[in-house]
């Protein structure tokens, strides 16, 4: 059933506007002396949640080994095709030679990246992570294509305890290559 709202005619006091203006003045005065909500941005930063999706970077494991094995899954999944990987071999005589592959070059075009987190989700090696950095700039488009060194520099080391490839190596030494 339709409900009819009755509009009461304005009282004389209301028609002078004055009570309303006075109560408005009271409200604004309260705001005048209230604590301000402005964040002084470059000095103060907003709190960022743990699952914030900032720029994607590569990480190393606690032993300093680069975790990416250049499987190129992330390159494949990346919706805007921001990632470009040049796969490379690991030298025969390196201690991690059994990992076989590592990226020779790894580029993420930060101007293309849409921070969708798909690369982090797809990576089988937990080698790529979205950080909490949301503000960065450059003077040219080339500068905004982050190279491998830069990605590792920002990403740093991931304090995980898997040591997947180290365990594999030890297992292989004990003669059970699963």
């Amino acid at each position: 059933m339709a409900k009819v709202l009755e509009r009461k005619p304005l009282t004389l006091a209301e028609r002078t506007y004055l009570p309303q203006i006075l109560s408005g003045l009271k409200t604004t005065f309260r705001h005048l002396i209230k604590k301000k909500v402005t964040l002084q941005y470059p000095e103060e930063r907003p709190p960022i949640s743990d699952n914030y999706r900032g720029i994607p970077t590569l990480v190393k494991d606690p032993e300093g080994r680069e975790k990416c094995v250049s499987c190129q899954l992330c390159e494949f999944v990346c919706p805007p095709k921001a990632i470009r990987i040049t796969p490379g071999e690991i030298a025969e005589d390196a201690p991690t030679a059994h990992v076989e592959k590592a990226p020779q070059e790894f580029e993420i075009d930060m101007l293309r990246c849409i921070y969708c987190n798909l690369c982090q989700e797809v990576c089988p090696e937990e080698a790529i992570f979205l950080q909490d950095i949301y503000s960065f700039s450059g003077y040219s488009r080339e500068e905004m294509v982050f190279k491998k060194e830069k990605l590792y520099e920002i990403g740093g080391t991931l304090p995980d305890r898997h040591f997947k490839w180290e365990k594999k190596r030890l297992a292989a030494e004990h003669g059970n290559v699963h």
């Binding site: 203006i21 705001h31 209230k34 301000k36």
Partner: protein
């Protein structure tokens, strides 16, 4: 008049104008700061001067307060590119801002801002020109300011400024009448039979050493204040400008320094208006109702109400009240929305004008009774 006297007058005038300009620029800062505070923001707090801002404690404090912001604002207006649109009427386009600012600066000549008592106890006002028709002159000249607005709006040769100019003139006509009628009771009272007739603002203030006029003529004060809001084009009556429906109103086509002149003129009118309200209704330089500076000095058993200290104190009291009124202007601006144009006209002609006439008649009868008793 010999040359030194002329130079002294010139120096005085320049000083007063400089102070008024300073007040205008800081009124702009106050506007921005109060606006921010009311909206939960902080407002301008970054502009700093090289040396002064480096002083520990005081420097950063002043910077946070935005004290140096007007300097930056002023420089910006000065050095900004100032294009003249191709479709404007050049002469009037340039004349507009000047005509808006000049009346604001001229009216200050008849506004007393303090008083000086010399050793013989003779009281003389601190003002540039103590002419007998003070308030008439003030009203006449200050309403000339609207010519700047109308000319600006008309010469810009585009629709929004044009509408703004039209509105400004309509609004001025509607409220000027009310304004004049609302202060008549005061001058009826000041010019009581047997006294020397005067329209000088100084005399009005001296009459308020007892009750301030706002206390026994509150309705006059109220009507005058509302008319003043309308005359100075402040919200809720900022019809000529109304950013939301007229883009920027009369100054839409102006930029750079010419816009700056309009801006300063607007604040100049507001400050002079606040000064006039202070003088007419709020007791001028009397610190409290029924209390004069002489009384205060009497309490302390001192005589700081005469001579230079007295003059400075009176100026400070006057400026304090003026600043409070300017704050009221700003506060109201950030509180209420704008009236519709037809509402402005309706309030002006159907409410304020009858009200001010009724007020005049009531006080005329009352004053006639009191004076002839």
């Amino acid at each position: 008049m010999d040359i030194t006297a002329l130079l002294i007058v010139l120096a005085k005038a320049l000083a007063v104008v400089a102070v008024l300009m300073g007040f205008c620029s800081y009124a702009v800062l106050a506007e921005r700061k109060v606006a921010s505070w009311i909206q939960g923001r902080i407002g301008p707090n970054r502009t700093s001067l090289p040396v002064i801002s480096a002083i520990p404690l005081i420097g950063p404090f002043l910077t946070r307060l935005g004290i140096f912001q007007p300097v930056a604002d002023g420089l910006k207006f000065l050095f900004k590119e100032d294009p003249v649109p191709g479709h404007v009427h050049k002469t009037y386009y340039f004349l507009g801002p000047i005509l808006a600012l000049v009346p604001a600066l001229v009216t200050v000549t008849v506004v007393p801002f303090g008083r000086y008592i010399d050793a013989e106890g003779v009281v003389s006002p601190l003002m540039l020109a103590n002419i007998d028709v003070g308030i008439l002159f003030l009203f006449a000249v200050s309403s000339l300011g609207v010519y700047g607005i109308i000319l600006g709006g008309w010469s810009a040769n585009s629709k929004y400024p044009f509408l703004g100019g039209i509105r400004a003139s309509a609004q001025l006509i509607s409220y000027e009448l009310t304004m004049g009628l609302s202060i008549l009771p005061i001058f009826l009272w000041v010019n009581a039979p047997g006294t020397e007739g005067t329209m000088s603002l100084f005399r009005v203030v001296e009459m308020q050493s007892g009750a301030w006029f706002v206390l026994w003529q509150p309705l006059s004060a109220f009507i005058f204040l509302i008319a003043l809001f309308a005359e100075t084009n402040r919200l809720p009556f900022d019809m000529p400008e109304s950013e939301t429906d007229l883009v920027g109103g009369y100054h839409t086509e102006y930029g750079g320094f010419k816009f700056g002149l309009y801006f300063v003129a607007e604040y100049g009118h507001m400050i002079i208006g606040s000064g006039v309200v202070t003088l007419l209704f709020l007791g001028g330089w009397n610190p409290l109702p029924w209390v004069t500076l002489a009384d205060v000095a009497g309490w302390f058993g001192a005589d700081f109400h005469i001579g230079i200290t007295g003059a400075v104190l009176s100026v400070l009291i006057f400026l304090g009240k003026l600043c409070a009124l300017v704050f009221l202007f700003i506060w109201v601006r950030w509180t209420v929305p704008r009236f519709r144009y037809d509402q402005v006209m309706r309030i002006g002609w159907k409410v304020m004008l009858p009200l001010s006439i009724a007020n005049l008649i009531f006080y005329a009868v009352l004053i006639a009774y009191l004076d002839t008793r």
